[in-house]
């Protein structure tokens, strides 16, 4: 039962990263692939009708995490207090930048919000990457299951780690590059002309840095968190996840258009599921004493809630998928201004 909810939350987070990932990535590249007012409108139109729905996956995943694993929600949200507050401010700025930008024409208003949008998108990608790095590395949980991390300490990934250390910064950079690539493939898919050409060129150039980053973070992750290696050694079927990521990475390189974008989706899903598989059954590893780690069992809500949750969750998610099919179908093809 706990494992079902662990998988459900993992799938929802993966959906969030794949969906909001492309509009974050489009935001990162916005200022570079689109220069004129009309080009910028085209990039924004490529995410305009969907970004809000994409972000709902974050809220839905958060809500599901909250009721299925309340101890994890309480511990991680209070422990990562400072970066989460900054994430909230960035989400606010990004949301109003997209929504308010088109209200006023002219050379001052829109360019200002374009910079806010792009900057907030880039920083969010970096913050989310650092968060993932923290979950893999572990945090200094105390006996009551809580912790509090400063933003940074000495940048070592050791027992006195802060939220930013050399390892989490590395993951943050990799996340930034990956989402930028993901966004470039989306923009190339949805736009035409010079914007499409620039996005395609950005995607091709970024691919090499993404590939290099992946090799690097794979090597260091297994050293920082030895538990990852044990998981794959004990349950070799888990190698399907990294294989999915590699297949996606190759598809990104050797195909174009929708297939390249789907390759990028597969790559993101493969990387995330590899991490989740490797960390399981922990949900938040402890840095020092492994017996203090939060796991799928000790962080889960009592049984009745988890069982009754399935009854409304499955039909609810089926409805949500229906809305998404409707939205994306009515929004298919290149954007028209």
């Amino acid at each position: 039962m706990e494992t079902f909810w662990f998988c459900a939350v993992a799938v929802m987070i993966a959906a969030y990263v794949v969906l909001d990932g492309f509009d974050l990535g489009a935001g990162i590249l916005h200022l570079f692939v689109a220069r004129t007012a009309e080009e910028r409108r085209a990039v924004l139109a490529s995410i305009g009708p969907v970004w809000d729905g994409n972000e709902v996956w974050l809220l839905a995943a958060g809500g599901t995490l909250y009721f299925a694993f309340p101890a994890l929600y309480a511990s991680s949200f209070s422990g990562f207090y400072l970066p989460l507050m900054m994430v909230l401010w960035l989400l606010i700025l990004r949301g109003i930048a997209i929504e308010f930008r088109n209200h006023i024409e002219g050379p001052v208003w829109a360019p200002l919000w374009d910079v806010v949008f792009s900057g907030a998108s880039a920083l969010l990608a970096i913050f989310f990457g650092a968060a993932l790095g923290n979950v893999v590395r572990g945090v200094p949980l105390d006996a009551s299951g809580y912790f509090f991390l400063p933003l940074w300490t000495d940048f070592s990934a050791g027992p006195n780690a802060g939220i930013l250390d050399w390892y989490t910064v590395l993951i943050a950079v990799a996340a930034f590059l990956t989402l930028a690539e993901h966004g470039a493939l989306w923009v190339a898919l949805k736009t035409e002309g010079v914007v499409e050409t620039r996005a395609r060129r950005a995607a091709a150039g970024l691919w090499w840095s993404v590939a290099a980053a992946v090799i690097l973070i794979t090597i260091v992750s297994f050293r920082v968190q030895p538990h990852l290696g044990e998981s794959f050694a004990n349950r070799p079927w888990g190698y399907v996840f990294p294989l999915l990521a590699i297949a996606g990475l190759l598809l990104m390189k050797f195909s174009k258009g929708l297939r390249a974008f789907l390759g990028s989706c597969a790559f993101l899903v493969g990387m995330l599921t590899s991490v989740v598989f490797g960390v399981y059954p922990d949900v938040l590893p402890s840095i020092g004493d492994p017996s203090l780690s939060l796991t799928v069992t000790n962080a889960a809500a009592p049984r009745y809630g988890l069982e009754v949750g399935i009854l409304w969750f499955l039909p609810g998610i089926a409805l949500a998928l229906g809305y998404f099919v409707f939205t994306y179908r009515s929004f298919s093809g290149k954007v028209r201004l």
Binding site: L59, G62, G95, E99, P302
Partner: protein
């Protein structure tokens, strides 16, 4: 300030600011459905144009509601971790349901409603408007169910170890507290939207611009406002008051400023609670009325604060007393204004009545004040409990988040929301100034 105080102000500030926007969008969603229905029924494009104008106001408010709403879900974990760990298995259900059932629905069909009028048939566009309304009212339900559980927990079991176990999902969703609080809150949203629509209409009529729209807005605003203001008092406000009287009697005593138990308790209209002397200064009261309203008997006994142990008293009685009286006082004035306006509308004299148009125009901020005061009454009235009778507010904070860190983000939110408020007023003013003509 200690950490508890900062965490409390943090939540109070962010939720108060947040709810300025959903209270309009939830009410306005219904009024937009009314406009779209009139357009379908009459075939008159005037109503579609009116709906497009309000859709623009709706969109700005909706965006504000979304960006200020995300911090609310986060804060349960960031600032109230011990509460979340204890109660997440219960209230996490309703919060997750809100995401899964309402937010996906709203976000998917808001796009279709705002951008899709040209591509969709008139009926399909009506359906999109209706689904946005449905999503926003469902969202309200899940939040009220969450709050109702904190006010009056049901469907749970407290174990010997102090854990809170959910035992009945229907007990949580059909909590007897939910029904009246939900109706009271949603009709309150309709009051806000009605006043805003009537106010903008009155502004157009007084400034002799967009006059055909001004008349439509005033008419719909006054009809919806007249009905909703009356429903706020009876039955929803009355029944919500009885919920408090039966389940939180100490809160009722504090709201009413009733320090001592009385047979035939008076209803206080004005007066200042004097906590040192344990009495009401300068009281203006209606004898026996509180007993009658609560128990339908003029000489019924209503228990005063002195009958309850001090540690069960709400910790800020004057604030509770004032916010309750502001809510009730404004609610009463709203009924008077809307009924007089509806009478003039019936007689065909409203559009030419400058005093009434001025009154409607200037009434704009007051439903927001009344709603905010109502929520302060509910939440300060719940004190000193976070979950009534189970968990004290002081035991719910994040133990590892120090005062300085909480203050850091409180100041950040204050700065951020000041900026948002300025931008919001600027953009809404532009839309209203531009008006519905295309």
């Amino acid at each position: 300030m200690d950490a508890l105080t900062v965490h409390r102000i943090h939540f109070a500030f962010t939720i108060t600011f947040h709810y300025l926007f959903p209270q309009l969008t939830m009410g306005l969603a219904l009024l937009i459905v009314v406009l779209k229905t009139l357009a379908l029924r009459t075939g008159n494009p005037h109503y579609n144009q009116a709906a497009r104008f309000w859709a623009k106001i709706f969109a700005v408010n909706f965006a504000m509601g979304v960006v200020t709403g995300i911090p609310m879900e986060f804060q349960f974990g960031t600032n109230w971790a011990r509460f979340s760990k204890a109660a997440g298995g219960v209230i996490g259900q309703t919060l997750a349901m809100e995401g899964v059932f309402s937010f996906f629905l709203e976000s998917s069909f808001l796009g279709a409603f705002i951008y899709g009028e040209k591509r969709l048939s008139p009926k399909a566009h009506w359906v999109a408007a209706f689904l946005v309304f449905l999503g926003s009212w469902l969202s309200g339900f899940f939040i009220i169910a969450t709050d109702a559980w904190m006010q009056h927990p049901t469907g749970y079991l407290l174990t010997a170890k102090g854990e809170i176990l959910l035992t009945s999902i229907w007990g949580l969703l059909l909590n007897p507290w939910v029904f009246w609080q939900y109706l009271h809150n949603m009709i309150g949203a309709l009051v806000t939207a009605s006043f805003v629509m009537a106010s903008v209409g009155a502004f157009y009529l007084l400034s002799r611009r967009h006059e055909s729209f001004g008349r439509t807005f005033v008419r719909i605003g006054v009809i919806a406002g007249g009905i909703s203001c009356c429903l706020m008092l009876f039955p929803t406000g009355d029944r919500q008051g009885k919920n408090i009287a039966f389940h939180q009697p100490v809160t009722l005593a504090a709201m009413e400023g009733l320090f001592h138990t009385e047979q035939g308790a008076p209803l206080t209209i004005l007066g200042q609670p004097d906590m040192a002397q344990q009495r009401l200064d300068n009281p203006l009261t209606v004898p026996d009325a509180l007993s009658f309203l609560t128990y339908q008997r003029w000489k019924a006994e209503v228990r005063g604060l002195a009958d309850f142990p001090r540690e069960l008293w709400p910790d800020n009685i004057p604030l509770l007393y004032y916010s309750y009286h502001i809510m009730v006082g404004l609610g009463t004035l709203f009924i008077a204004v809307m009924l007089v306006a509806a009478f003039q509308l019936q007689r065909g004299a409203l559009y030419g009545s400058r005093p009434m148009l001025w009154t409607l125009m200037l009434a704009l901020p007051f439903p927001y004040i009344a709603t905010t005061a109502g929520w302060i009454t509910a939440e300060v009235g719940r004190q000193p409990w976070l979950i009534y009778g189970i968990l004290r507010t002081s035991d719910g904070t994040s133990a590892r988040v120090a005062e300085g860190n909480a203050l850091f983000s409180l100041i950040g939110f204050m700065g951020m929301y000041t900026l948002l408020a300025i931008l919001f007023l600027f953009l809404v003013h532009r839309e209203i100034d531009h008006g519905p003509e295309e």
